[in-house]
């Protein structure tokens, strides 16, 4: 595996096995200029969470008030990442029509469990599929 394999657009499946791998990118948002779909993969620890925070802030600063953050292929999430998610929720909540939808599939029970014991699922809208999350965003707009 070459070191620059991370440049591959969405070919991160093999890289997920690599220690400390983290990926963040955007996917096409279906409707509205104020919607963004952000996909994260790998491990979101204290080394990676500032990148997540920055990326979310960039979207909000650019006027994208409705954010979907897909964590389905995230393999690890720590307290600093939880803090970023809570901060993002507080930030979009202040905006008129602002909405944050997290997506984490049922198969990703480890990340779901951390979200649950951190109490995130009672503070932030968490969906089990991308479609569900996008419906919630559409309804928010």
């Amino acid at each position: 595996m070459s070191e620059d394999a991370g440049a591959g657009k969405r070919d991160h499946s093999a890289l997920e096995e690599r220690m400390g791998f983290f990926y963040i990118g955007e996917e096409a948002a279906p409707d509205g200029e104020d919607v963004a779909v952000v996909v994260a993969a790998g491990e979101i620890d204290f080394a990676a969470s500032p990148q997540l925070k920055e990326r979310i802030a960039e979207h909000v600063d650019a006027g994208r008030r409705r954010l979907l953050l897909d964590l389905s292929t995230v393999t690890f999430i720590d307290s600093t990442a939880i803090g970023v998610l809570m901060g993002a929720e507080m930030r979009v909540r202040e905006l008129d029509g602002g909405w944050l939808a997290l997506v984490c599939g049922d198969e990703n029970r480890r990340v779901l469990r951390i979200l649950e014991i951190a109490g995130i699922d009672s503070l932030i809208d968490v969906h089990r599929s991308r479609e569900e999350g996008l419906s919630a965003l559409a309804a928010a707009g």
Partner: protein, 147 residues
């Protein structure tokens, strides 16, 4: 792995890691592998990796490394439990902890406590150690821990 790992007698090992965020993955790998070596199932290994990651994160953010710039990790097995220790050379101030219980640091401790059977904080001048333990179940006592 950039840290220096030593195995002393088969029931305990130690790892020194540079106090940098980029080393957290190595801390998680160490915890996961060591827990697996003691016969813990994958879920329990993951819980240890999570808790050790939180403790090392705290040490990096709020503690102080040794003279070589390292944080110390170790694992030991007792008859009834497996314990990871994360030590830094900072002096833990309880008064600051009171103010941060609702912050990320407090959240990290709360999550550790949820996933471990015991979380112990030992604070002395120039030495802060967090001990993270899980009680062993019967099968692991006989199989993994070799007691």
């Amino acid at each position: 792995m950039t840290g220096e790992r030593t195995v002393t007698d088969g029931i305990a090992s130690e790892l020194r890691l540079p106090a940098q965020a980029s080393e957290l993955a190595a801390a998680r790998e160490y915890a996961h592998e060591a827990a697996a070596a003691f016969g813990l199932d994958d879920d329990r290994c993951y819980e240890f990796a999570f808790a050790v990651n939180e403790a090392v994160t705290n040490a990096i953010r709020h503690g102080r490394p040794d003279e070589h710039g390292d944080i110390h990790l170790s694992v030991r097995a007792d008859a009834d439990r497996l314990t990871f220790a994360v030590r830094d050379c900072g002096t833990f101030a309880a008064s600051t902890f009171d103010r941060v219980t609702s912050s990320e640091r407090g959240r990290g401790f709360a999550l550790m406590a949820r996933l471990m059977d015991a979380v112990q904080l030992c604070a002395a001048p120039g030495s802060t150690t967090v001990r993270l333990s899980k009680l062993a179940c019967e099968s692991q006592l006989s199989a993994g821990l070799g007691v």
